[in-house]
Amino acid sequence: MEREQAEPPSFNRRSLLQAMAASLALAAANGRRAEADERALPYVNAPEYVVPGKPKWYATSVRFAGYLQPVLGKSIAGRPVKLEGNDQHPATGGATDLFMQAALLGLYDPERSQVPLHLGQPATWEAFDTDVFRRTAEIDRAQGGGFRLLTGAVSSPTLLRQIGDLRKRWPKMRWHVTEPIKEDARLAATNRVLGRPLQMLPDFSAAATVVSLDDDFLGPGPRQAMQARAWSKRQPRLFVAEPTPSATGTRAGDRLIVPSARVQILAQAIAGAAGVGGAAPAELAAHEKKWVDDAVAALGKGDGLVTVGAQYDEALHALVLLINERLGAFGKALRFTDPILAAPPDGKDSLGVLVDDMKAGRVTTLLILEAEPVQATPAALDFRSALEKVAFSVHAGLYADATANACHWHVPVQHELESWTDGRAPDGTAAIVQPLIRPFLNVRSPHVVLDRWRGGSASDHDLVQASWQTGWQEALLAGFVADSAPAAVTPTLIDRTISLPDPPSSDGLVVEARPDATQWDGRYGHNSWLQETPKPLIQVTWGNVVRVSPALARERALSNGDEVRLRFGNRELLGAAWIMPGQEAHTVVIGTPDAFAFLDSWRQAGVRLEKTGKTRVIASSQPIQDMGEFDYVRTVESAEEAAAQHKDDVSFYPPRKWDSPSWGMSIDLDRCIGCNACSVACMAENNVPVVGAELVAQGRQMYWLRIDHYTEGEPDAPRHHFQPVPCMHCEQAPCEMGCPVNAAVHSPDGLNLQVYNRCIGTRTCSAYCPYKVRRFNWFEYTGHDPDSIRAMRNPDVTVRSRGVMEKCTYCIQRISGARIAAKIAGRPIRDGEVVTACQQACPTEAIVFGDVTDPDSAVSRRKAGPRNYSLIEDANTRPRTTYLARVRK
């Protein structure tokens, strides 16, 4: 700096600033200096100067399975610290899912790949560029022959434009797409019935009755936030038939447990009742018939919608399309648009074509852009050995994963929170992704990586901006391009004759593969927040299990943790058994990515299961899920029925008058789909440490907000409940009474506080807590964190050290922020001004927070309803967090 200032005074202010910026950029490259990209536009207001401690919000998106998930990124001092839903977005309206919440950790993950690797050895970008340049000369000569590009699903206009440009230059090159969890059957069915491939967009807020045939539309996936938000608006009458419990199944008033082979027969029965021709009459068991009759009767009342799981074949989807057409759902509860994800040139078998070509030696150069075909593709393809036949293979991705190791080159790419890109949300609305931070690693944007093959040298910003000639600034400020969703298509039926194949075989045990609720296709294996998040319904963290039915467990004398071997053909899969109440007797469920190595499809009959005799320790956050005789989750017959038992609060002491504001929370158990978005949001917001599988297995998980899963009734066909449990902020808190050093005290605004620096770790508060929401720092969990994890922490929340107790604070930092803002403005805090992290994250708006002393606040109105009740009223703790009971139908 001194040298620069010593230069002749001809330097004007601007060039001096440029010089300073250059030196800062150098510092950033060397010293991981966090700095916002100055070309990114902060959300709504763009302050001229950075105010230390004052957060800036940027509207952007994170990517998931080819789609964009709209987010607002909170950046403090140039560091992104939290992602929240974009409440202006037409698709999600602010809803989030756990993957969206956890994307933040992906940016800071210390395991991210940081340097290019050549044959596994660290190399430089220059060496890579030289190698590529040499290669492109050869490809030029062959006009692209032998050059292949493999990507994941793509919705990015810029990437599509780049690929198009590349194909113009190299007409013989081919582009392939691998997306392990996909919806090809739906597109194929629309193609068959409606004449062209169309994206189906069910609108659950427009349906009065939804019949789901093993379709987990509320479960994990790119459309979870969007669909769950829509569902929660109307909460239609829900009929679900499925072989294993799903988030959607738990919300169903009528849940039918059937093997997946029966799903087609149920569809045929509904089709027959709905008057769709061509459906063969099906024989139904009594309980199936009752379910179908009830479902048909409910559908008949109007606004009906039938959905079927993406894993079922094209013919079944076609049949369901016919049913929906007959129900009048087209254009209302079921809308269509042109496909949102770009269709790969070779159709749904894009990857198979590539592998065949690789094996045949027709591929000389392969560029894999952000895909993981080695692990996340069916083992039968044997991508790895095909890859060995490729002369020059390059993998560009965030992690040096199995594919990276199998390629000649691996180059690290930028995370979407530090680069420019674009794409479309699941409803088709386009958005521009802007960086919240300048890259702090020596990494390139995928766009830039691809551009170099074309000999270009543009930056990611320029590449993306070239795709958006107009409305750039507006799109950056809003977080999406207004009205950019493809127009709704009103299709006409061209084919009413559906001949269904025979129902698939259900010999022996049927293994169903399901997308992993926290790992998806395995792409989040590095994300410790997601690893530590319990998979809904099984409450298992860090790794997957083999879900068996209670009946099978009885038959084979299995208990949780018994190691089992699944055999099919010459393949086998070892896993720990986990008894899943409510699972069909002869169905065994495994999750991705384990399933890729074992199965070639989502369903396989005739699998044998045997006990190995060993047991495995399962890191379960909730070993016991049977609610037994207790009434933690209450169910009422109708929404008008009272759920609480004790109306008179008994106390020795005179009733206390609370001053306004006094905070409270209401959680609607009917809305909760157990998705864990709130839980991950809480981890991000409150710097909650991750402890690892071993400690979770010992019962030392740190979640401030956990989602309990309970089964009620017979294990073979129970009702499933989710119950988010944050701190109850009891008015008569036993924990406070137990603390000898005044570390647990009550605030005047009704919060149960935990004063970390006062805590000496007697753990009395936890022993006395009836809800066991308190978490203890058994070891030093935070002090040894890598620098990047430290950079990620929310500076408004104290980082806890060893030996202190911690727990949910109702996001006291947000309350404090709102109070300061209100004081500056000289007004009271408005209702809805304080939004807790969990409340913001919730896709179904199950959580409402606010001032309980104000009878007009949203939370007070909810609590005044008949369904309101306190968890464990008998303990007489007067919780501020209360629940709304479930309604039976």
């Binding site: 070993p623 137990g738 050093v741 805590c759 022993a767 308190r774 058994w778 303990a875």
Partner: protein, 451 residues
């Protein structure tokens, strides 16, 4: 009361037998054979505590919900044992039971060391043990005081008071015997050691009179103190709203159990000491008989506590309490419940027979059984309550880790090391009180003869 010390012929023999043990220990080899293992255990204590302080409480098996584990159950166990010493010493002094004089010194020493062990546990179990003094009220820059409505603060004061009172009571009781050792010591370092700690005691009648006033008053206060201390420790459990703890039966139940385990330990020590130090003249089979009777009595009171606790639960018929009770009887930790019932009460029944009571080996074994049983009871009360509390979702098993056990072993090392040093260097039996009893009984006989 004619046979408190039948073989103690005169005052000098009493002093010879007791005080000379300190000045010239009879069987040094045997002592070292005990002391070296005790030192090894003590080493385990220091290693375990170093480990604990370096890495945190996580080295133990504790979790949420079982945030308290072996540390707190052992804390109650050790303090419970301690109470018998005070009861024997203070209660029997007030009741003028002369036979106590052969037992009170080592019983009090046992109390002292058990309280030290018990008191160490809650200190080391803290998440941040270096801040333990925040429990004490002192003006500080944070201007925050301890929270006096917390059972832990009550415990802090109770244990501290109990420790101080136990030390003082034991010390003023031993001063005349230290004077005796001082007067008999021939080696310089013994003279200096005993000379300093005897405080210049010279047996003046006026001194004795004031000493007696003070000693008896302290004894009179110590008895309710014992009751209050263990009642407060029971509050640690009973004040919480957790099913299985939240019971008014707990204070008397704990006090009875504490006395029971303590008498069992005193019986064991009596058997060992009279054998090891050749004190059969002073600790006679009549003493064993009386100790056994006390153990039996308090044991049956404890059994009544068990019954009352079960009855209380059934009578209250709260579903959570019933579930906890059911789980104690048939759940995964049923071994601790039935183990406690068996070891506490089954061998105990043998003590109805005089022959068993006066058989040192049997008495020792029964005492050991009671100690094991009471340990299991503490473990059972703590773990079975916490591991299945209100919400099914928080239920989680508890397994003590290696470092839990090594600290327990180490704490036994602290106890044995201190006790062996006491046996080696201090008069283990109150010589002057035995002499006093001999004199008074002679006077009584004279009175009787005259009548």
């Amino acid at each position: 009361m004619s046979d408190i010390a039948p073989s103690a012929r005169d005052f000098r023999t009493v002093t010879d037998e007791i005080v000379d043990i300190s000045l010239d220990y009879p069987d040094r080899k045997a002592w070292w054979l005990c002391f070296i293992p005790a030192l090894l255990l003590l080493m385990s204590f220091f290693i375990s505590v170093t480990m604990l302080f370096s890495y945190g409480v996580g080295v133990w098996g504790n979790n949420i919900p079982v945030g308290w584990g072996l540390a707190i159950s052992n804390y109650i166990f050790f303090l419970g044992i301690g109470h018998a010493g005070t009861l024997i010493s203070a209660l029997l002094l007030l009741l003028a039971q002369h036979w106590r004089n052969s037992l009170n010194r080592f019983a009090e020493a046992m109390t002292l060391f058990a309280v030290i062990c018990g008191g160490l546990y809650p200190l080391v179990h803290l998440g941040r043990p270096w801040l333990f003094y925040w429990m004490a009220p002192y003006p500080n820059t944070m201007t925050v005081w301890p929270q006096f409505k917390s059972p832990l603060t009550w415990d802090f004061f109770a244990v501290l008071t109990y420790l101080i009172v136990s030390i003082l009571f034991w010390y003023i009781g031993i001063v005349p015997d230290l004077a005796s050792a001082r007067d008999r010591a021939t080696r310089r370092r013994y003279q200096v050691f005993f000379g300093l700690f005897a405080l210049g005691w010279r047996g003046s009648a006026r001194h004795w009179a004031r000493w007696r006033q003070s000693y008896r008053l302290t004894a009179a206060i110590a008895v309710p103190l014992v009751v209050s201390v263990h009642s407060e420790i029971s509050m640690l459990f009973a004040a919480g709203p957790i099913a299985g703890w939240n019971s008014t039966v707990f204070p008397p139940y704990f006090v009875a159990g504490a006395a029971f385990s303590g008498f069992a330990v005193v019986s064991m020590i009596a058997v060992v000491l009279r054998h090891a130090l050749g004190l059969r003249n002073l600790v006679t089979s009549r003493h064993l008989d009386l100790l056994a009777k006390l153990t039996l009595l308090t044991g049956m009171m404890t059994a009544y506590g068990y019954w009352a606790e079960v009855f209380d639960t059934l009578y209250g018929s709260d579903p959570q309490e019933l579930e906890t009770l059911r789980d104690r009887l048939v759940g995964v930790y049923a071994w601790s419940y039935w183990g406690a019932v068996f070891f506490n009460f089954v061998p105990l029944q043998l003590l109805w027979w005089y022959r068993v009571r006066t058989n040192p080996v049997l008495l020792f074994l029964i005492g050991l059984s009671c100690v094991v049983g009471m340990w299991m009871e503490r473990y059972m009360l703590l773990v079975t309550t916490l591991y299945r509390d209100w919400l099914v979702s928080s239920w989680q098993r508890y397994h003590p880790s290696f470092w839990d056990w090594s600290l327990f072993a180490g704490m036994l090392g602290v106890f044995f090391t201190l006790f062996l040093l006491f046996v080696r260097f201090l008069p283990v039996i109150s010589a002057f009180e035995i002499k006093e009893a001999m004199f008074e009984e002679k006077e009584e006989r004279k009175e009787a003869g005259r009548a």
